[in-house]
Assembly symmetry: C2
Homo-oligomer: 108 residues x 2
Amino acid sequence: MGLAKTEEFTLEQNELAAMAKALGHPARIAILQFLIRKQSCICGDIVEELPLSQSTVSQHLMELKRVGLIQGSISGPRICYCIDPKAWLRLKQSLTNLLDSFQDPACC
Amino acid sequence: MGLAKTEEFTLEQNELAAMAKALGHPARIAILQFLIRKQSCICGDIVEELPLSQSTVSQHLMELKRVGLIQGSISGPRICYCIDPKAWLRLKQSLTNLLDSFQDPACC
DNA sequence: AACCTTTATCGTAATATTACGATAAAGGAT
DNA sequence: ATCCTTTATCGTAATATTACGATAAAGGTT
């Protein structure tokens, strides 16, 4: 098979997993960190910053955009990317919710 | 190609990405939530809980173990799994570090 | 219109992930 | 010793991801 059985899990589990999956590549972590540092920037700036080709960076950007973590606005021939504040907050909340629900008990 | 260029990124970026990737599947989110709820439990309990075959659950457990998020201890013929508190804390810190570094500025 | 810049998309190849059944391995129980 | 239970691993098939170069598309500039 190879197709994740998403329909068997809750919406929350799927959403969190999708976001986490989007964070699951060092290039995308680097892109997000760069966007945070720069507030917003042109796609080309990211391509310059990363050790990857333009097409690969574009794919990573699409991946981040697909789950809603970033948004791009057209500005002439270039596209300005930035983090979507609402999606970022939602990610933060559901991650915090998961991470804080574990309270360091003795292990088995 | 198809092989992630991990060597081009920092250790921190790679570590966080690896952890996030491990969270990037609803079944693994469900496993972690179950482990948190139960504190610790037998592999078989997880298999019962999830809508996946025993072998698939075992693979997901191996994935979580590979990045260190959970640990298993042998107890007779069964294996008791639980969350690794230290790894959990590290994950929490590096995620919080990333998530908190973004301060809702105006987008482009 | 012809050109340049910028970014997305296509095509392709390599690798990784996901899932399952079947089998092996490890350890108790009879 | 022979079983039964429990979990890992193997084998396999389908799908997804990653990366790149090449090309297309979109929008300025001359």
